[in-house]
Symmetry: C2
Subunit: 150 residues, 2 copies
DNA sequence: TCCGAAAGTTAGCCTAGGCTAAGAAGTGTG
DNA sequence: CACACTTCTTAGCCTAGGCTAACTTTCGGA
C-alpha cells in the first residue's frame, strides 16, 4: 500500500496555456459583469443608479466609477444622463440578467455544500466569473437532486 | 403560491464594498500563486524551471515572464540564476504548496459534484483564487462525506 | 432666489500585466 | 573552439483599473 500519491504529470503545455488564457479573459470581463449587475440592482431597488452609489457599493472612488462607466459606454453596455443616473442598453440588460442568475446560483450552491451564507456571498462574488456553463449546469443538477432528496 | 421570488434587498453598502475589495485583493495575488505553483511543478517534473517553459505554459511572451518574475523576486518569492532557471524561496515554496493543495482540492470537488475532468481543470484555475478557507473546508467535508457514503 | 452641499468630471498620477522588436548572453555541437 | 541557436533581457509601447486633488454643474432648502 502506497503512502504518497504519484504526482500527476504536467498537462500538455498548449492545454495549460489555453486554460490560463481563458482565465485571463474571464478576469477582463469580471468588472463589467459586476458593474452592470449592480446597476440593474440599483435600478430595481431605487429606480435609479447613480455613480456616487456605485462608488460606495463598489468601495471605489467616484473618479474610478467615471472611468469604468466610460469603458462600459464605449462597449455598448451602459448609457448615461449626467445627474440623472445610469441606464443599461439591451446588451447591458442581457449581461446583467445573466450575471445575476449566475450569482444567485453560485450562492445557493455554496450554501448547499455547507458554506455559511455570508462567506457564500463573499466567495460567490469572485467564483461567479470563473464558473463555466458546464459548471453552472452541474451546480443546478446538484441543487435539484438535493431538493428531490430533501 | 407565489410564482416569482421576492427580489432580495441589496446588502448594506459597506458589506458589499468589503466583498468587492476582498475580491480585488484575490485578483492581485492570483498571478503570483499561479506562477509559483507552476515553478514548483516544473522543478519537480523537470528538475528545473526555465523562463521559456513558463512562457509556453502560461501562454505569454518571454518578456512578460521576465517582468512578472521581477515582481515575484521583489516580493521575496523567487530567486533567479540566469540560464540556470528559477528557484523558490521558503515563502515561495509555502505559497506554492498551498496553491497546489487548493488547486487539487478544487478540481476534485468540481468533479465530485458532476463536472467533467477537463472542465474541472479549466474552471479550477480561476475558482481556486476565490475560494476562502471556509469554502475549502466545506469542499473537504463534502468529499469526505461522499467517500464515506461510498 | 441664491448659495452651500452633493454629484459628477477632469487632470495627472500609479501599478499590474500584457505586447513586439531588438540586442546580449550562454550552450552545445560540428 | 567557433558559431549558430536558444535563452534571456531591455526598451518602448499599450490598456485596465486604481488613486487624489481640483474643478464644474446641479439640486434643494432657507
Ligand atoms: Mn463578482
Ligand atoms: Mn456578482
Ligand atoms: Mn489559477
Ligand atoms: Mn492553479
Amino acid at each position: 500500500m502506497r503512502r504518497t500519491l504519484a504526482p500527476r504529470p504536467l498537462p500538455p503545455a498548449e492545454d495549460q496555456a489555453a486554460r490560463f488564457a481563458r482565465q485571463r479573459e474571464a478576469d477582463r470581463t469580471a468588472t463589467a459583469e459586476d458593474y452592470v449587475e449592480l446597476i440593474a440592482d440599483l435600478l430595481r431597488a431605487d429606480g435609479e443608479a447613480r455613480a456616487v452609489d456605485i462608488a460606495r457599493r463598489m468601495g471605489v472612488s467616484q473618479a474610478t466609477v467615471t472611468a469604468t462607466i466610460g469603458r462600459l459606454q464605449r462597449d455598448g453596455l451602459v448609457e448615461t444622463k449626467p445627474y440623472r443616473g445610469l441606464f443599461l442598453t439591451d446588451a447591458g440588460r442581457d449581461m446583467a440578467a445573466a450575471a445575476k442568475a449566475r450569482h444567485e446560483l453560485v450562492v445557493q450552491f455554496l450554501i448547499a455544500v455547507g458554506l455559511d451564507a455570508e462567506t457564500a456571498e463573499q466567495d460567490a462574488e469572485g467564483i461567479e466569473h470563473h464558473a463555466s456553463e458546464a459548471a453552472l449546469q452541474a451546480f443546478e443538477r446538484f441543487l435539484a437532486a438535493r431538493k428531490a432528496a430533501g
